[in-house]
C-alpha cells in the first residue's frame, strides 16, 4: 500500500494505464497547458494538476490540448472511441456539460443502442465538480443526477484515493462511456492505495460504517460529512450504517435495501437541490421495494432549491452540513 492523495492517485493511474494501453488518449483544455506561449508546453499539466508529465511521455498525438470548445472535446472523444481508441476527455468544470451535453447525452450515451448493439464507445469523461471553494453558481455544481438518469452512461464518484485508482482503472478497461466525477475539494484527501493493478467493480457500494440504527447513503464529499455526523452520534450511542455509493449508475440497490431492511430508517445525503435528485431517486426506490421495513419516513438531506451562492457563509449554508445530517438522523430515530 502506498499513501497518496486523490490527485496523485488519478495522475499515477493515467500514467500507468496510458503506458499499458496505447489506445488511451487524453484531451481537454490545458491538459498540457502553455501551448502557443513563451512558457511552452507543460506549463500547466492540467488546471487541477491531474495530467503532469503525460504530454512529455506520450506526445502530442495522444495528449491533446484543445481550444475552449467543450462540444468538440466530448464529440471528438466520442468519435475517437467509435474509431477504436479509448479517449479520456477532461471537462475542467462539470458545469460545462451545459455546453457539451448533446455530445454526451444524444451521442455517446446512445450510440450502442441506436446502432443495434454493434458498437462500443469506451470514452471516459472526467468532470470536476462540487461546491466548497466559492466558485459560485456556474463552477460548483454536482450534475451527477442528471447524467445518472441517462441510459447508456455509467456514473462514478470516487471518495477515496483507492477508489480514485480502482474506479478510473475500471473505467479505462471497460467498453462503455463513463462519467468520472472528481470533487474539487477532495483532491488532497490522503489514503492507502493498493499497488499494481487495482480495479474497483462498479455498482458495489463501500461500507464506510456499520452501526445498525440508521442507514445513511451518500457519495462524494457528503460521505466525509456523514462520517463527521456519525462520530457525533456515536457519542450518544447511535450507530450508523454509512454507504458510499461509489457509482450512481449502476446503483448498488441491494446494499441499500439490505441495510434499510435491518435499520428501518433511511437518510440520503446529496450535494444538490432536492428535486429529481439522487436522494429523491433512492427514497423512491426504497419506498417501493422496502416499504414494510420502514419505521420512519425517509429523509433527504440536500441543498435548497436554489443556485449555488458565492459568499463563503452563503455557500456553507447551501451545502448540506454534518450538522444537517446529524439532525436528520435524530429525526428519523425520533419518529414513532
Amino acid at each position: 500500500m502506498a499513501i497518496m492523495n486523490i490527485r496523485e492517485a488519478i495522475v499515477s493511474t493515467l500514467h500507468a494505464e496510458m503506458e499499458r494501453d496505447s489506445d488511451i488518449i487524453l484531451l481537454g483544455e490545458d491538459v498540457v497547458g502553455g501551448n502557443g506561449t513563451a512558457g511552452g508546453p507543460e506549463a500547466i499539466g492540467g488546471i487541477w494538476g491531474t495530467s503532469p508529465g503525460l504530454w512529455e511521455k506520450f506526445g502530442p498525438e495522444r495528449v491533446i490540448d484543445t481550444p475552449i470548445s467543450e462540444s468538440a472535446i466530448i464529440g471528438a472523444a466520442a468519435g475517437a472511441a467509435l474509431a477504436g481508441k479509448r479517449p479520456v476527455a477532461e471537462l475542467m468544470f462539470a458545469d460545462f456539460v451545459g455546453v457539451s451535453l448533446d455530445q454526451i447525452w444524444n451521442q455517446m450515451a446512445k450510440f450502442r443502442y441506436m446502432f443495434g448493439g454493434k458498437t462500443r464507445c469506451p470514452a471516459v469523461v472526467r468532470l470536476v465538480y462540487g461546491a466548497g471553494m466559492s466558485t459560485a453558481a456556474q463552477h460548483s455544481q454536482s450534475v451527477y443526477a442528471m447524467l445518472t438518469a441517462m441510459p447508456g452512461l455509467k456514473v462514478v464518484l470516487p471518495t477515496t484515493p483507492a477508489d480514485a485508482k480502482g474506479l478510473l482503472t475500471e473505467a479505462l478497461r471497460g467498453d462503455d462511456p463513463v462519467m468520472y466525477f472528481e470533487h474539487k475539494t477532495l483532491y488532497g484527501v490522503k489514503g492507502e492505495v493498493p499497488e499494481g493493478e487495482y480495479r474497483q467493480r462498479f455498482g458495489e457500494a463501500r461500507v464506510v460504517r456499520e452501526g445498525g440504527d440508521v442507514t445513511v447513503i451518500a457519495c462524494g464529499r457528503m460521505v466525509n460529512f456523514s462520517e463527521k455526523a456519525a462520530d457525533k452520534l456515536a457519542a450518544d450511542g447511535i450507530g450508523m450504517d454509512l454507504l458510499d455509493l461509489r457509482t450512481t449508475s449502476p446503483l448498488d440497490e441491494d446494499a441499500i435495501l439490505e441495510s434499510v431492511e435491518q435499520t428501518g430508517r433511511l437518510v440520503v445525503v446529496d450535494e444538490t437541490p432536492p428535486r429529481c435528485s439522487l436522494a429523491a431517486d433512492i427514497c423512491a426506490m426504497v419506498a417501493q421495494r422496502a416499504f414494510t421495513s420502514l419505521k420512519a419516513p425517509p429523509q433527504m438531506v440536500t441543498a435548497p432549491h436554489s443556485p449555488i451562492p458565492f459568499a463563503r457563509n452563503l455557500e456553507r449554508a447551501w451545502v448540506p452540513s454534518p450538522q444537517k445530517v446529524e439532525e436528520a438522523v435524530r429525526r428519523v430515530l425520533a419518529f414513532r
Partner: protein
Amino acid sequence: MSGVVWDNWQKNTDGRATVQFNRDELLGAYRRMKVIREFEERLHEEIKTGEIAGFTHLYAGQEAVAVGICDQLTVEDMIVSTHRGHGHCIAKGCDVKGMMKEIFGRAGGLCKGRGGSMHIADLDVGMLGANGIVGGGAPQAVGAAIAARIDGKGRVGIAFSGDGACNQGTTFEAMNLAVVIKAPAIFVFENNHYSEHTGDAYAVGTSKDIASRAEGFGMKAWRANGCDFFETYTAFSELLEYVRAGNGPAAIELDTERYYGHFEGDPQRYRGKGEIDRIRAERDCLKAFRAKVVGAALLTDDDLDKVDAEVIAQIEEAVVEARADELPDPATVADDVYVEYY
C-alpha cells in the same frame, strides 16, 4: 437561390489532369447513384402506405455528392453522416437490404429496428453513424481523424454536413479544433439550399459561399457542382490527396439539390413555382452522368438501362424482404444499452 450552379467551382482546383475512369468504375458509380435514387423514390411511395413510422429525410437529388466522395474512400476511412443519411450509407457500403429492414422497423434491420432512418450505422464499412442532431457529427469526425492519425495509415475522418449544420456551433468548434491540431479531417458541406424549411439565402450569412467559412477557420477549401458526379469527384480527389498527405483538414462545398421535402410529408410550401420540375429537369446527376458518358461513347444507353432495371429489381426485393421480416421482440427493448452493466 436554389438551382444556381457555381460558376467558380474551379477557383480552388490545382488544374490537375482530368481523372480517368474505366468502364467498370463508370458503371459502378452510376449503379450506386441509381441505387440511392431508387431507394429514396421507393421510400417516398412506401411511406404513403403508412407502414413506415417516424421521420424519413430523403437524399434524392444529392447522389453525386455521396458517390463522388465515397467512391474514393477505403473501407478504413470513416464518415459521419446526417439525418439525411441514406445516400451516405449506401455509398459507403452499408447493406441495402439491412437498411430497408431498419427503416421498416424490422428485427433484421442493420440496427435491429432500434435506430431507424436517422440512426443507421455500420462501423465495419467505416460508417460511424447517421445523426438526428443537425451538426452533431462534425466533432466526431475530428475524433475519428485523431484516431486515424495515431494509427498512421493515412486514413481520414469525414463529416457530411448541410447548409443547416454549417450554422451549428459544433461545426465551428470541430473546424477550429481540426485546424489547431492538424487532424486529417474533411468537412463536406452539401448545400441543398434549405435548412429544413428556410432558405440558405436567409439562414446562412455566407450563403453564396459556405466554403469561405472553412477558409475563415484556416483550412483550404474546394467548391464544386454537387449535381455533377465528375466535377464532385475531381475536386474531391484533389482535396483527398491534400489531406492524406498530412496537410491537415480541408473542406469542400457542393452545390446540390434536394428533390423532396425536409421530411416525408413536408408540404414544401416554400418552394418556388415549378421549382421541383426545373431542378429535376436541369439538375439531375443521373441524367448528367448519362449524357456525358454516352456522349463521349464510354457507355451506351443500353448499358445504363440495364443497370436501371437491375437496381429497380434490387430495391423491389429489398422492400419485399423488409416487409416480410419479423418485428423486433418487445422483450429486447432494454437490451444493448451497455456492453456490460454492473
